[in-house]
Amino acid sequence: MFRCCLLATLLCFIHRGNSEEADCFPSEWLKSVSMSVKISKAGFHRDLHYRVQWSKTEQEVHALLVQKLPSGVYMDEYQLETLRRDTGLEVLLDSKVDVEAPEYLSSGFTALVFLSGRREAVVPVHGRYHRPSDSSKRVKVELESPRLLLRSEQCERGVAVDAPCTASNHSICSWTEILELEDHAGVSLELPVGDSSMIISVCGVTVLTTILCCVYLLRNIWKHGSF
């Protein structure tokens, strides 16, 4: 809980970088940096595929993706913890996530995806139940493109952004935000929603059927039970 609060506070200070980018990242090399985000699978359980690429460099480069997620989706912290232990995937959430709450009772959150030592990650994301609708059968959830931050062990100058060094969130490091990425639209997913125009018939038929079953069982218990 304390770590979430600390991270949430820090995220308030993650601001867009100014024009003074780090000298340790040559501008020519920065042009080679690219990022792609894809979403796979169908239904309520999707995978976000992140890939960051850059040309060869002698520096050890760490990448951090700051992904803002709307209230229509969530990430399961327990699943992320299992993945972290089993596969080394490092994802940090800025707040506690209620996995059962519907979309209209939830708020958006931010996920920090650390790509230290690797350039791609697959992060599971799940859709929330949305409010039933009488006009459409599906709802579209848009995920904006993540912000890309880079850091090098060999260089501490030209600070633009402060963020946790790793998913353990024990210390803060200085990162450089890459602003001049190729225009990349975010991804989106469509989720089915219930039909609110059927509310009366659903309630009526459900209660009626349940009463019918109840009466049948009561009759049998009364007739055949040992009293």
């Binding site: 239904g43 309520f44 359980h45 996995v99 089915p192 038929v205 009561l218 009364w222 009293f227």
Partner: protein, 318 residues
């Protein structure tokens, strides 16, 4: 132990271990089998062994007892639940829901009597004797010791818990479409009262199994083998196996079982397309849920009308 019993347990152990290894193979992110799953697998087998011992104690022939146990052991649902990492089989071995306080209390202070009439029996269930019996049980002392958290997690959770995600409960669709309406609390109360009414009326082993089946089937939430939720089915499947030997049904028993699987598979297929393919099958899940309730009620009704207590069966064989 019989040779057949050894074979049965060995085969089901091998099937479960194979499922665990398949899970590791399929999810290439895992590198080992979690110890918790081995514990649940063990308690799964232990509950089958306890079932067998109880059935033999209640005068079932060993061969018949092993057939009934195999219905628990070879049930794909119980296999999937314990190998997925769900702890419901531990409940079967160690702990059971607090709702058993009611049948235990009723059997201790005296059962309802047919002579009183239905309404008077329901009123009697809230009598002074029953209240005093509950006060002298462990519940109030445990509540004082552990406070609100104990009460919430052991008793009140099932009264207030509402999960609008698709599940086997017949009330799922109703609770989902009315979630934001302030009058939905009335519907929740109706659900609870219907459940309570059935629970108040019903010998102890038979009562617990019917009691559990009613509690689960008429509950506001009834989830299955998901890793992070309860598998309500196992709560009554285990105990129903215990009473199967006392049923006078014959071919009907097999048909009822088939009907149950048909109802379950119908619901599961629509739920699969909703959750994993993104199809809008909410209406079909609603209909399948109600159909599953009707099938379960029919089967329960048949079990209630064809159950013969042990003493009646003994008299018949004399």
């Amino acid at each position: 132990m019989d040779a057949w019993l050894c074979v049965m347990f060995s085969v089901t152990l091998l099937i479960r271990l194979a499922l665990l290894c398949f899970g590791v193979y399929q999810d290439q992110n895992l590198r080992w089998v979690h110890c918790g799953k081995l514990l649940f697998l063990g308690s799964d087998l232990l509950s089958a062994l306890l079932l067998f011992r109880l059935l033999v104690l209640h005068c079932s022939a060993r061969s018949l007892a092993s057939v009934h146990c195999s219905m628990w052991l070879f049930n794909p649902l119980t296999m999937a639940v314990s190998t997925c990492g769900n702890a419901e089989s531990l409940l079967a071995v160690l702990i059971y829901p607090v709702t058993y306080a009611l049948p235990v209390a009723l059997s201790l202070v005296g059962a309802p009597s047919r002579g009183r009439g239905l309404i008077q029996n329901l009123v009697w269930c809230f009598s002074r004797d029953l209240f005093l019996e509950q006060c002298s049980s462990a519940s109030p002392f445990t509540a004082c010791e552990y406070g609100w958290d104990f009460l919430q997690e052991s008793s009140l959770f099932h009264l207030t818990h509402r999960d609008i995600h698709h599940n086997f409960s017949p009330y799922f669709s109703m609770l989902y479409v009315t979630a934001e309406h302030h009058w939905s609390v009335v519907l929740v109360l109706v659900c609870f009262l219907l459940q309570l009414l059935l629970l108040l009326l019903s010998s102890l082993a038979f009562c617990c199994s019917i009691h559990t089946a009613v509690f689960v089937r008429f509950n506001k939430v009834c989830t299955s083998q998901m890793p992070f939720s309860r598998s309500y089915f196992l709560w009554y499947l285990c105990l129903l196996t215990l009473v199967l030997s006392r049923l006078t049904l014959s071919l009907r028993r097999g048909l009822g079982l088939l009907l149950w699987f048909v109802g379950q598979e119908l619901w599961l297929s629509h739920a699969y397309y909703l959750e994993f393919e993104g199809c809008n099958s909410f209406a079909l899940i609603w209909i399948a849920g109600l159909l599953f309730l009707l099938i379960n009620s029919l089967i329960l009704g048949q079990i209630i009308s064809h159950y013969r207590p042990a003493e009646a069966q003994l008299k018949k064989t004399d």
